[in-house]
Symmetry: C2
Subunit: 290 residues, 2 copies
C-alpha cells in the first residue's frame, strides 16, 4: 500500500501536552508541517478561545476536532444539567474555532463527586448517553457543529465511556436518526479503541453508507504488547500490533479522505521526550508505518 499523503497528518494536542502549552504546540505544528490540530478544551481555555482561533487560522491549521464534550451519565439532576451547560459551551467553542467536529466521549457509569461509581446500571448509563446526546444534538445542529461520538475501548466502559464498539455507536446514530436527529451526528474512529473489533471493517462501511457519511474523524496511535496500564500507555505508530495500513485502507475505501490525527497518551515515554523529537517521529512513522 502506498504511504499516506503527508499533508493529511494532524496532531491531537494531548500528544505533547506535558511539555508544551498550546501556543508552542501550534508553532510546533507549523515547524513540522502538520496541517491540522485537535486541541483539548483545557488547553484552549488557557491560551484563550479567540487567541487560539486566531493562531490556528494564521498558521493555516485545520482544527480537526475539539476534545471534548460528553460525559453524560449522572444520577443527580444538578450534575446532569451542569454537564448539559458545559457541553453547550463546548459546542460554542468548537464553532468559534471553526472545528470540523466536537469529539464526544460518552462517559461511564454514574459517579459520586469523589469519583467512586454510584450505580452499576450500565444499560441505564447508556440510556443517559442517548438522551444527553440527543439533547446536545439539537443545540449543535442549530449552530451547524457536527458531533463525533467516539467509541472507547471496552476497558474504559466503567469510568470513561460506555459506548464501546462501532456497532453500538452506529446503532446510537440510527436510533437518534429515527427521532429526526441523525444529521450532524457521526463517529470518531480511533484505532486504539477499535482495532480489535471483529466487525470493524463492516461497521466502518456502515458508517460510511449513512447519508451523510458518519466518518468524521480518524485518530491514530498503536497498541503496545505488552501494555503496562490502561490509561496512558499508548504507542507510537509502528511500535505496536495494529495493522495501521489495513485500517487506513478500510477508511479510505469507505470514502474517508480526511486527516489522520495522531493521539498518543504516553505518560512514561512520549510525554517525557522533547516534543520536537516526538513530532519528527510522528511525521516519519506516518509515512513508514501507516
Amino acid at each position: 500500500m502506498a504511504a499516506p499523503d503527508p499533508d493529511l497528518l494532524a496532531l491531537n494536542a494531548a500528544t505533547v501536552k506535558e511539555r508544551w502549552g498550546l501556543g508552542e504546540i501550534i508553532a510546533g505544528c507549523v515547524r513540522h508541517r502538520l496541517r491540522g490540530i485537535a486541541p483539548l478544551r483545557e488547553q484552549v481555555q488557557q491560551l484563550g478561545l479567540k487567541e487560539t482561533a486566531r493562531r490556528c487560522r494564521d498558521a493555516g491549521l485545520a482544527v480537526t476536532g475539539l476534545c471534548r464534550g460528553g460525559l453524560f451519565p449522572a444520577l443527580d439532576g444538578k450534575a446532569r444539567s451542569a454537564a448539559r451547560d458545559d457541553n453547550r459551551r463546548a459546542v460554542d467553542e468548537a464553532l468559534e474555532l471553526d472545528a470540523q467536529c466536537l469529539i464526544v466521549v460518552a462517559g461511564g457509569l454514574p459517579r459520586r463527586p469523589d469519583g467512586t461509581v454510584e450505580s452499576k446500571d450500565l444499560a441505564g448509563a447508556r440510556a443517559m448517553v442517548r438522551d444527553g446526546l440527543g439533547e446536545l444534538l439539537d443545540y449543535a445542529r442549530s449552530g451547524g457543529m457536527p458531533l463525533a461520538i467516539e467509541p472507547l475501548h471496552p476497558m474504559y466502559a466503567a469510568e470513561r465511556g460506555c459506548v464501546n464498539t462501532m456497532a453500538q455507536a452506529n446503532d446510537l446514530c440510527d436510533e437518534l436518526a429515527g427521532r429526526n436527529k441523525g444529521e450532524g451526528l457521526g463517529l470518531a474512529v480511533d484505532v486504539y479503541h477499535v482495532w480489535w473489533d471483529p466487525l470493524l471493517k463492516q461497521e466502518i462501511e456502515r458508517a460510511a453508507n449513512a447519508s451523510p457519511s458518519r466518518l468524521l474523524a480518524f485518530q491514530i496511535s498503536d497498541w503496545l504488547a505488552p501494555t503496562a496500564e490502561l490509561r496512558l500507555n499508548r504507542g507510537m505508530m509502528g511500535d505496536g500490533v495494529i495493522d495501521l495500513p489495513l485500517l487506513r485502507s478500510w477508511m479510505e475505501n469507505a470514502g474517508y479522505h480526511g486527516m489522520h490525527e495522531i493521539e498518543i497518551l504516553s505518560a512514561n515515554h512520549w510525554w517525557k521526550r522533547d516534543p520536537d523529537e516526538v513530532l519528527l517521529t510522528c511525521r516519519h512513522r506516518h509515512q513508514s508505518a501507516c
Copy 2:
C-alpha cells in the same frame, strides 16, 4: 433477586494458587464446602493426574472445567503441531479428571519464541483459531469432552485471546457447526471478560438457544474501578462495578443452572492473603453480591 444456591459455588484454582498447591486447594474446597473446582493444567501436572482425579472424586468435587487448551495461532508449522499435540493431551487430561469441559483460550497474534508479536494479521490469527479449534473438536468429540471457548476481554486480543465477544464466539460455533462440528462445542462465560458488551444478554440467549445449549461454564469475579493493570488486577465479587445479580439472572433465565466458578487473578491483593480467608470471603460474597 434471591441469593444464589450456595451449593453452586465452585473455585477456579488460580484464585489461591500463589500460596497453596492443588492438594491444599482441594482440601480447602472441602473445608469451605465448595462443591466444584477448575484446576490449571500445571497444577494437575504437579500433583499428578491420577492423584488429582482421585482426590477430587474422594472429596466429592465436580471438576467444572480444566484450564486450559487453545493458543492456536502460530506462523511456524512446528509450533502449530506442538500446540495440536499439547491440546490433545489437555483433552485426555480433562477426560481423566471427568471434567465438565476443557476451557479453550484462543491465543492472540502469532508470536516468536521470545514472545514478541510476529504478525499483525488479526483476521489471519482468527482463521487459525477456527481451524485449530475445528481440528481439536474432532479429537475431543471422539472422547466425549466438550470444549468451552472463552471469549476474552478485548484488551487481551493481541497477546492472549483474539476471540473477544460473545457474538464472535457464537459465530465461531455456528461456523464450525456448519462444518458438522457444532456438537461438543460451547462457551465459557466469564463476567470479567464480557460484562461491558452491549449484546451480552442477547448473545447469552443465542448461546442457550443452540441445541444443545452452548452455556458450558460461568465464571465470576469483579471489574475494579480503577483497574491498575491489565492482567492480574481482578476484584472480589462486590468490590467492583459489575452487576453480578443481573448477569446471573440472564444466565439462569437462559436455562443455565450449572456452577458459579470464582476466578480472581489478583497479584497484589487476594493472592497475598491467607487462602482460607479468601475462600471465606468468596463464600460470603457469593451470597451477598452475586
